[in-house]
Amino acid sequence: MCELFAMSAGQHYTAQEYLPLFADKSRANFSGWGIGFFRNGQVFIEKSCEGIYAGDQVHDSFQRLARVIDSRVILSHIRCTKSGHRKESHAQPLSDHFLDHQWLFCYAGESKGCAGYRSPRPILEEDLLAARVFEFVRDGWLQQMADWPRQSFYQGLAVACKDLITRHPGEYVFFLANESVLFAFLNHGQLLSYRPPEPQGEFLVLTTVSGGLTRDPERWRAYPHKDPNRGQLLLISGSDLLYLGHL
């Protein structure tokens, strides 16, 4: 299973303490990795089809990027071998521009139905489930906002997510973020969140890695999910979980 990482803060932070731990705990996935972040409202993505581990070392570029990248929102994805061909274009995060923002997206899960989705505006022509899920959610959300322009982002996205799991039953965990806001959705497995002790800074770390990334798993708050017909949608901005809704 691919693994996901997100960090959200009220100001620019590096994830230099947490990204290497994320890589270390995801070392079984050796089919590519990616880090996405924002600078001045623009998306930047660095990714590779190489394994996150080379020998007993975290990939050199990944280590260096972890130290250097600072942003209010940082997403990362480490790809498992089951996800198809080993190509850089298949590594995540993916990005697109809609609703007046640049968005970053990364996904882990399985869905046979959604793999066949054909969007009128594909993000990627290649066969990649993450791209189909992103397109489905984006298209559904845009349709919602077009039909009900006065509704909130959360409401529109929640309807699109509900539509996703209803029309294409499957396993979904994804992060979707712009430069200010991070949405996290899951209908299987679990997400964990961690707020470090105050002196270390005001930020929130989320991951799919079981047990969390630090040596104190009890400090991680789990959002488990057992019913794939429903789902949870989290809204995060800065270092705070602002809203959690069950679909």
Binding site: D100, H101, F153, V181, R219, L244
Partner: protein, 248 residues
Amino acid sequence: MCDLFALCASQYYSATRSLPLFAVRGRQNVHGWGIGFFRKKQPVVEKSKEKVYQDGRLHGSFQRLARVVASPIILAHIRYKSSGRVDECHAHPFVLDFWGQSWIFAHNGKAPAIESYRSSNLPALEAASDSARAFEFLRDCFLEAEPRRREVSFFEVLKESLYRLFRLYPGEYNFLLTNGCFLWGFTNHRQLLLLKGSERLEDALLLTTIEEGLSPENWQKLTAREGSLGKIVLAAGGDLLLVADLEP
């Protein structure tokens, strides 16, 4: 009755058009004004006890600040006193800290019941008004909830706090609350008006209590639904993120 204003954008933005219009349309509020924003996570508040509009002119400082202040979130308040003296310390917005962050708060409404509230936490706001006590009350609720911060969302704590507020100190509360990263709004009387993507004003999200809005555009009126205790609004990055009714 006081009036509230907020601008919310994804980047640093000035409210050069909308803030003066807000002041002009809210000029019946003659007991002071204030503008609040964040600079590098630090709250900055400029306020005055003077009239925002006098002898056909906007207050000079208000005008200049409207041109100069740039921030992703800007709050403003024009005061018509329903509680407390007319001086600078009673002008809004107010600043308090909780959950490891500074917060800027501005209130509009009448809630005499809460004037008797005495916070057990420090600091206390100097102002002797319902607005100052209401902010302290909310701060205290969040401080009390801090050990649960890992478990609950901000929305849940805000909701709990508002239930307690209405049970113990019923009144009229419209308020704006921001940490510079996101902006919460609440209304249980009058209304909040929202506009996003204005062609005449700033291309940001604008909020105000001014009934007709600040431009002849399609302002969205947010009011407490009949039977609900009020409406909660959340904005960040120039977007309306959440709208929820506070059910009884």
